[in-house]
Amino acid sequence: MTAPPPPGGTVFDIGYQRYTGAREGRGRGRRAVFKDGVRAAMGFGRGARAKFLPWTFVAILSFIGLIMALIAGAADRIGGPGTSDQLPSHGDFYGIASIILFVFAAVVAPELLCRDRREGVINLYLVRPLTGSDYVLARWSAFFTVMVAACWLPQFILLTGLAMGDPTPVQYLRDHWLDIPRFLAAGVVMAAYVTTLALLTASFTTRRAYASVFLVGLFVITVPFTAGSASEIGGTAGRWISMFNLTNIPVHVNDVIFGEASEITEGAPAGELPKMLLVAWYVLWTLGPGAVLWSRYRKLTP
């Protein structure tokens, strides 16, 4: 309404403001996809319903860490200092919590990939200066960050609990400071593995539910099967069968980092194999799926 319409066809300027600011490139796009991934996974900026599942899992993991710390403190008080050294500690946490971490990833990871493909939103991302591999890398980083946080938080809770429970917290920390870089590294190991597998599964289907069930089904099938038959068969064959226990693959690396077998993997025949082999196996099972995931998204065009 700012000018009279000239005869024969008009385009009105209804005040649409042209963007005159800076236009940033791929890096900005990647960061945006990353940030959106973290928000989608943890339900930030969405209602309470979206927060329920992810935060429940975080709470459970933290709770496990807390319980471990409390039990250690109680054991020290009852049996004298040093009793708690026998109990599960940082090196065992990931083994104990692995099933929770896997279910967490199975339930939350599909949220980041499946929805976009189902609703066709992926095309909106791809018409930006953002390639398919940018997108999947940003999403991977987002979920990896979430998983690392979920792995580290309970460990820090455990550390705090153990230090507080000790009569001389500072001395405790000085004696056990090596645990910290160990559980940080093991956490990264765990997170990378879980993230890659979960996202790979999610990249094969557009319904979140199918991805979740498939992933959990995969673990439910392989874990008891390999555990059972490995101890039955024994010997080298048994060790190799035990290597296919998917939940233990990152835990073996955790054991390598901590230098001793954790509670969960103590009986696993695979633990008898040379350390380098276990680490290489882990790398295979993380990089392999990662490469497949990357190639699935690399060739996507809008």
Binding site: M1, T2, A3, P4, P5
Partner: protein, 309 residues
């Protein structure tokens, strides 16, 4: 549009909110046999209102009565109601005919075969009826959904944007069909955001803007009513009083108010002329116009819809 018979659908003081978002705000109207068009911009609340009328959603306050009975939690009523929702998704694995049969069975249709044949013939899809609906084009899906809506010969039809994706030929066919159905005494409520669609078939129009009922009644009556209300147009310029005294001389202007913040509000019943003359006036008086905007929010959209022809 006579008022002496009981209305087929009565919407009484209906509101619906989702948290702090009000989708429908205190709407009341009656629907009688014939075609009623529900018109409004996207996001105005048409779909929510239709879902409230069909009982798919519950009202936050107010009541909806269809054929004298509450529509919510009243399954037997659906035998007389045919509903086509805005969602175009169907069971892709079902053949078109199977889908219509399923809908017919669920609504208790007797002599199903004949009813299905009739419905499919009405939408002219007899040659595609044995293909899975997943292979249909968008227009074909809409038409088969319409057939499913008509299979039980309902006396009331509620159609939410039924012409989405219809090509011009289908549109003409569809409008013809609707008129025939209405001529048999049925009550049809049809929603759209496209003026022409509604104008060509509807006897009565309900205009929804921002969740509120902005106008209702016959088309021409609404236009006439609108023409009698002056519109408020706010003008910001660098010499308000000077402009005001010039503007008040225009025929198209009813009155001018000067706001304390330096803007003037022009009341006019002929904004088209105002549009042409105001800039001329400003130019002649060497006043620069900084901003010209209508103050009637609801009329901004009504404006474009009903008056701009």
């Amino acid at each position: 549009m006579s008022g002496d018979r009981a209305p087929v659908i009565r919407v009484d003081g209906v509101s619906r909110w989702f948290g702090s978002v009000v989708a429908v705000s205190d709407v009341s109207f009656d629907v009688t046999p014939g075609i009623t068009g529900l018109l409004g911009p996207n996001g105005a609340g048409k779909t929510t209102l239709l879902r409230l009328i069909t009982g798919l959603a519950a009202t936050s306050s107010g009541t909806v009565t269809v054929l004298g009975e509450p529509v919510r939690d009243n399954p037997p009523l659906y035998g007389r109601l045919g509903v086509m929702s805005e969602h175009e998704s169907v069971y892709g694995f079902l053949e078109g005919r199977e889908f219509v049969e399923l809908m017919g069975r669920l609504r208790g249709v007797r002599s199903l075969e004949r009813a299905v044949d009739r419905a499919i013939a009405l939408v002219d899809l007899a040659d595609a009826q044995h293909r899975p609906m997943g292979t249909y084009s968008r227009g074909m899906r809409q038409r088969m959904r319409l057939a499913a809506t008509l299979v039980h010969d309902p006396e009331i039809l509620i159609l939410d944007e039924p012409l989405n994706g219809a090509d011009p030929r289908q549109r003409v066919h569809f409008q013809q069909l609707l008129k025939e159905l209405a001529a048999d005494g049925r009550t049809i409520v049809l929603s759209s955001h496209i003026l022409e669609e509604v104008e060509q078939v509807a006897d009565t129009v309900l205009l929804i803007v921002n969740g509120k009922l902005a106008a209702s009644g016959g088309f021409r009556a609404i236009r006439a009513a609108l023409n009698e209300r002056p519109y408020h147009v706010r003008v910001m310029c660098d010499a308000p009083r000077k402009l005001a005294s010039a503007v008040v001389t225009l025929d198209s202007v009813d009155a001018v108010n000067v706001d304390p913040d330096g803007a003037i509000v022009v009341l006019s019943r002929n904004v088209r002329d105002l549009q042409i003359e105001l800039p001329k006036l400003a130019q002649a008086a060497a006043i620069s116009l900084r901003r010209v905007e209508p103050l009637d929010d609801s009329l901004e959209s009504v404006f474009g819809y009903l008056v701009e022809r």
